[in-house]
Amino acid sequence: MATIVVDGVEFEVDEGQNLLHACLSQGLELPYFCWHPSLGSVGACRQCAVIQYADADDTRGRLTMACMTPAKDGTRISIQTETAKQFRASVIEWLMENHPHDCPVCEEGGECHLQDMTVMTGHTQRRYRGRKRTFENQYLGPFLNHEMNRCITCYRCVRFYNDYAGGTDLQVFGSRDRMYFGRTTDGVLENEFSGNLIEVCPTGVFTDKPFSESYTRKWDLSSAPSICAGCAVGCNTFVSERYGRLKRVHNRYHGELNGYFLCDRGRFGAGFVNSTDRIEHVGERVEDDFFDVLDVEVGIAKLAEMIRQGDVVGIGSPRASLETNVALKTLVGEAQFCTGMSSAEESLVDLIIQTQRATSADIPSLSDVESADAVLILGEDVLNTAPRVALALRQTVRNRALNLAGEAGIPQWQDAGVSSHAQGRLNPLFIASVLPSGIDDIAADLLHDVPLNLADCGFAIAACIGEATGSEPDFVRKAAAALRSAQNPLIVSGTSTRTRAIVEAAGAVVAALESAGKVPRLLLVAPEANSFGSGLIGGGLDMNTALQRVASGSTKTLIVAENDIFRRAERERVEQALCTVENLVVLDSLDTPTASLAGLVFPAATFAESTGTFVNYETRAQRFYCVFEPRHEIAPSWRWLAQAATDAGRDDLGWTHVDDVLEAVAASPNMAGVRAVAPDAGYLGSSLCKTPRETPRFSGRTAMNANVNIHEPKTSVDEETPLSFSMEGLNRDQPSALLPFVWAPGWNSNQSVFKFQQEVGGAAAGGDPGVRLLASGSIGTMPARSASVRSDRGGVDTGFRLIPVQAIFGSDELSSRSPPVVERSSAAFMIFSPMDAERLGATQGMGVSCSVLGATFAVTVDAAMKSGYVGVSVGFTGAEGELPDGLIGLAVDPNYRPTPNPHDRVIARG
């Protein structure tokens, strides 16, 4: 700790930090632009100028940039001195010289860091009367709007996009006052984290395009803390609503998980909530594809009757909350409950849970991931299955520069110094994967092979860590050496190839590192937002057995909660089961193929309209809160089930409140921690009110619904959660799990997040949210290596062996029904080796049809693909479910016409 004196007042600050960081952490107001806690300081904008004094006798001092000056013990500075204030006012006046008169038509207006800083420095009168410099804008794809006139050249965008996220297609062009931040030509910003530019840009150059389409000012949004449903990472988000529509998803700071950044799937993948495919009423199927709307009571009575008759099998879902899954499990009984994961997924998730418990290696949070110093990715395509992990891994590799800087005595926040001292030296990252991916550029070495060979490679690395024979392949030897010599080795693997042996191999590497006296960490990626929750709840039936049982006709009723079974097993198997069962009841939010076969459909609430709990890859249980009241008859699935069960005379599901269900969840094995995730509905904040979802300046209260009802009914009382549908109360001092938005006086933009942190860039105030359900540490035994059946590779004549390939945009069920993600994702594709493509007579851009999958796929040729194997885009049309084993015949489809790629569109627009 160091003591610094600011305007005559002493503060105890962190010595390793710069003065700007120190001042903001102490709650002092100092304007800045180019500095970002995750990006460090470069001193580009000159906005955080302060006067620094040599000693107590120095009355004159000198001007320094706070972000570029270390907070050494005894530093004396002044923020308030007239010279410093004048300097900062001049800087902002220069920055504003060319700034367009756009605020009313700018999506950033009202949450603009530039507006806030302009007000903070007191620049209220425009003196410059000259002409303003202008730029043409670019089309940047379905996610972002570009408005270059507003730029103040702080360089944050390229520092984030290129340095932090590894993008290559956003650059700085031009010279002097003509700096242009954009692409060489119009086109989609390719990086998977481009959406963060919305939050990184201090003004309105990069704005949220889908949000802009039905734009609402920040002060008018009512928001709630939520958890991203896009993958197993469980990034914390703010989800915002107005007029009954979900408007946008923003990052909610979590010190251990997502920090300041989200991936584009998470940010733009929630649009399905507003979909026209939403199921909004209770429906009964009358004839093929037609549903009659039923009265809620009638629908529940019908379901109750089915429950009363017995013989009910329930299929839950890894995309539904713990609450819904537990409700269904309680209703049908463990022996009749299936978690809803496919058999392959479920066995993998079980394997992961078993491995994580058996090993003493910790499951790393993302901040732990960033602190590792050697990484092996074994068979997992993290950029496409858990994108935020890939962004963290990029920092892991880059953080070598921080270690080197530490040795050289360069402060860690000195971004330019740190990176130029490192001279491109990186922490070693070894990637063994099926196909090249977007993070290959930072890998020390790569291996591309088919999944079983990757597993072999993993076992070989494990053996090599124990004792090197010298005859290992290069990749194995290098990876083993790097992991062995590391302080914090990290192994990343997962389920994306649906190969057990890969997860077993990852476990073996960790075990080898442990016996070599290391303290490794093991990150195993699960497929979906609540896969771990489903795995921990468990069920008596796996998917194939459940479907078999249903198809055999011994089951009267099948209840499916928020799941599309066609994505969980092969088509024939599913069709056979769903068409045999007498009563098929589906509770879902979207119209899915399963829902259209149902006899009785109940409208289920999405994550934005209900309150529930997801368990992420760290087994961290996290609560998401309903943002708005669902329209029509939409209700959380557990409520439909509990209501029907109660009507059927069951007394163990008499739940009327989400906290009742939570009690039931907490009573299940491994789940005791879920109570502590967030306060219960009775929690009142420091203002003795519930925490408000609406901002203090929420507008239109007496006019919003005046066209429907002039009488302004009382705001609905939220009895389910500690949040209220109102602006009353304080958004302050509550546990971080209850933070609905960030705003502080004078800080309207998302930069106000530091007011909700313990120190700038540290843990969230009140502790980072979420509770880990499993502690790792030698419980049970490490799963042994299963005898993997080595099957022959295929060929053009015999048919190909299919390997699942994941895509960030399109493989996930819910986000792939969000319009901007649809626009960004490609058509279903198959990846061939050049040799196979040639022998098949297929070239890039042609189509191949697959009779087994019943669909046509666009051909992609990749030299890394092994001959005899074909990568198939899973989750896309035709490959929604589990891929069939065995050799699959493919043929070129002469009638295939590629769908025009919307990304090629160039719009010359301002």
Binding site: P100, H101, D102, C103, P104, V105, G109, G110, R129, G130, R131, K132, R133, T134, F135, E136, N137, E147, N149, R150, F173, G174, S175, R176, R178, Y180, S212, E213, S214, Y215, T216, R217, W219, D220, Y243, R697, F698, S699, G700, R701, T702, A703, M704, A706, N707, I710, R909, G910
Partner: protein
């Protein structure tokens, strides 16, 4: 003493001054004549019924910036932004609940485009409160109102139909970023 006398004299003179108070809504000229409707003179800046005006080019002035809604002390304005194919912002709907409006004029003050204006018309009473909810079709007039010349889009940096980058007031033509000239 003198000033008191002057004051008394001035007050006395007022006995013969014409009335400032107007008989409203109607007045009889003589005691036997029928009452006729009276509309007093109200200055243009009088704060009565709210209207939405148009730009000199005939398009809607309102850019749906929401500043009127947020400044409204009774929260009686609600709107939703949308935009045309050329990027011009306008309100998809614009609703004022006049049964809540207190005619304070803060919306007019906040409006950066002179779109929302208060007029001297104060006769907006209704028997049914529902009729006091005005939508955009009731608010929008075919004219510029009190500010004939101002056009926000001609000073803003965003492109709209008929105005490209660099064509607004006080703007230089778009920079050629590929130029290497100093």
């Amino acid at each position: 003493m003198i000033s008191q006398l002057v004051s008394l004299w001035k007050v006395f003179l007022h006995l013969f001054a014409s009335n400032e108070t107007v008989q409203y809504p109607s007045k009889k000229k003589w005691w036997w004549s029928k009452p006729t409707k009276v509309m007093p003179y109200l200055a243009p800046r009088y704060r009565g019924r709210i209207i939405l005006t148009r730009d000199p080019d005939g398009e809607e002035r309102c850019v749906a910036c929401n500043l009127c809604a947020v400044v409204c002390p009774v929260d009686c304005i609600a709107l939703q932004k949308t935009e045309d194919e050329n990027g011009r912002w306008y309100p998809e709907f614009f609703r004022i609940n006049f049964s809540r409006c207190i005619m304070c004029g803060m919306c007019e003050e906040a409006c950066p485009t002179y779109a929302i204006q208060l007029t001297p018309d104060f006769e907006i009473c209704e028997y049914d409160r529902n009729n006091l909810v005005y939508e955009k079709e009731h608010l929008l007039i075919n004219g510029v109102g009190k500010y004939p010349d101002y056009s926000f889009w001609q000073v803003a940096g965003k492109t709209i139909f008929g105005k490209n980058k660099g064509e607004a007031q006080n703007e230089s033509p778009p920079e050629d970023v590929r130029s290497l000239l100093p």
